[in-house]
Symmetry: C2
Subunit: 247 residues, 2 copies
Amino acid sequence: MNNPITEQAFLSQYNIHDFDVPLCTVDMTIFTVQDEQLKVLLVKRAQHPAMGQWALPGGFIDLENDTTIDDTAVRKLRQKTGVQTPYLEQVATVGNRLRDPRGWSLTVLYFALISSQGIELANDASSMEVVWMPYTKACDLSLAFDHHQLLEQSYQRLRSKVLYTSLPIHLMPTTFTLPRLQKTYEIILGAPLQKKSFRKRILDANIIEETGDKEPGVTRPAALYRAKAEHGLHVFPRTLEGVNCTP
Amino acid sequence: MNNPITEQAFLSQYNIHDFDVPLCTVDMTIFTVQDEQLKVLLVKRAQHPAMGQWALPGGFIDLENDTTIDDTAVRKLRQKTGVQTPYLEQVATVGNRLRDPRGWSLTVLYFALISSQGIELANDASSMEVVWMPYTKACDLSLAFDHHQLLEQSYQRLRSKVLYTSLPIHLMPTTFTLPRLQKTYEIILGAPLQKKSFRKRILDANIIEETGDKEPGVTRPAALYRAKAEHGLHVFPRTLEGVNCTP
DNA sequence: TGAATAGTGTCTGTGAGACAATATCGT
DNA sequence: ACGATATTGTCTCACAGACACTATTCA
C-alpha cells in the first residue's frame, strides 16, 4: 500500500490551491421565440476579458451559494430574465487550453427555453447591454471566446430534439393554440410541417388540454390549450421526416 | 465604464489561485459486451479518498499535456485498456458540493464503447485492481463517491441511444455476424428483438458490408460483416418499439 | 436424416406526409 | 357572401412487429 495515512489525515492536508486547476464556468443559451423568429439572449460584456463584445450570459460557480451546478445555471438565468422555472438542459461541457485567454478553461453549457411573454431583460454589473438577438443574426456576429461554437452546439441540440420531442411547448405562454405551436416548431426547424399530422401527433401524445376558450381574432378563432401539469418532455417514437436539411 | 485598464493588464494580474474553484475531474464509463453480458470497467482505488473502494476510472485534467477535455478522457481510457480510438461520448457533467469529501467538485462524465477482443486490462499506481464487472453486479456494489449514480446515468444514455442508433456496432470486433450484433442489442436492452425487422433495419441503413466470409460453426454459418469506413453513428428515424421497460 | 442456427416471405398496425374538403369567424 | 384561418377526411407509404417458412451446416 503506497498510502498508509488515514483518509481523514489525507483530507486535512489536501489543498486544491496546491494544484493547477482549470478555470471553470457555466454558460447559458437562453432561447425564446418572438416576432416569428428564434432569438437568443446575448449580453455585451462590461468586464475583461473580451470587454465590449457580445457573449452568452454566464459566469463562475459560486461555491458559497450554489449547491449544484444546475443552481449556477438557474441563478444566471434569473439574473438576466427574472424567470424562475424554465426548461433547462445541459448541452455539453467544452474544455480546452485556448478558449479563454486566462488559461485552461472549461465551461458547462446549458440551454434554457422560455416564453418571451412578460420578460424584462435586466442588466447587472457584468453586462453593458442585454438583448434578444435573432439567432441568425447572432451567428453572423463575432462573439466572445468560443461562444459562436457554443451557440451553434446549443442550436443543434435544440433543433434535433424538436424533431422527436415536445420541447417547443416550453417556448409557449401558459395558454396557446395549436397553429401557434406548429409555427414555433416551424420557426426552429426552418421548414413547414403538415397541419394534419402535426395536430394528430401532439394531441395523441396527451400532453396538452383544451382550456375551453378560443383565441379572439379576425378569422376563425383557434382553440386554446395549456400544457398538462407535469408534462415535462414527451418523446415521440418517430422523428419528423422530410425536414432533414439545416436551413 | 468600471474597468478602465486594458485587457492585457487585466490578464497579467489575473491569478486563478486568488479564487475558490471547484475540484474538476473526468470519469469514464467504459462498456463492453463479454460472455453474453454488458460489462463495465471498474477500478479498486489505491489512493485516498475512497481508497479500497470500487470506482469508475477517472482523474484530473492534466493542464500540461491535455489540450482538450476529450484528451483527458482518451488518456484515461488508454491507461486502463490500451485502446486508442474507441467510441467516446460525453454523457453529462455533475457538479455539487457534496459528491467529494475534498470539497465542491465537478466531474465530466464520458462513456466509451469497446470490443472486448484482445483487451489487456492494466493497473497503474492509482488502482489496486482493474476488472470488467457485469453491469448488474456493479449496480449492486457500493461504489466510491456518487459513481453509482454516474454509472446509472451512463447506462440510461447508452440504452436510450441503442433504441434509435447503430451504437452497438462499436461494441463489436472488426468483423461480426448479424445474429451477434442482434444479440448485443438484446443484451443492452434486456429484451429480445425480431430477427426479420432487425436485419432489415441494419441492412437498409447501409452502414455495414459483407466481408464475403462466413463464420465457421457447428450449424449454418452466418455471413460476416464489417462496419463501413466512417460509419460513425447512424440515427434511425424510428425507435425500436415494444422494448419500453427497463429490465 | 435431424438438430441447430441463419436467413426469407408475408401480413398487420401505426403514424407521418400529402392534399382536398369543410367549418367558423369578422366584415 | 367573402376572405382568412381552423379543423377534419382520407389516401399513401415506410417501417417495426409477429410469425411461419425455407436454407445450410455438422454429426
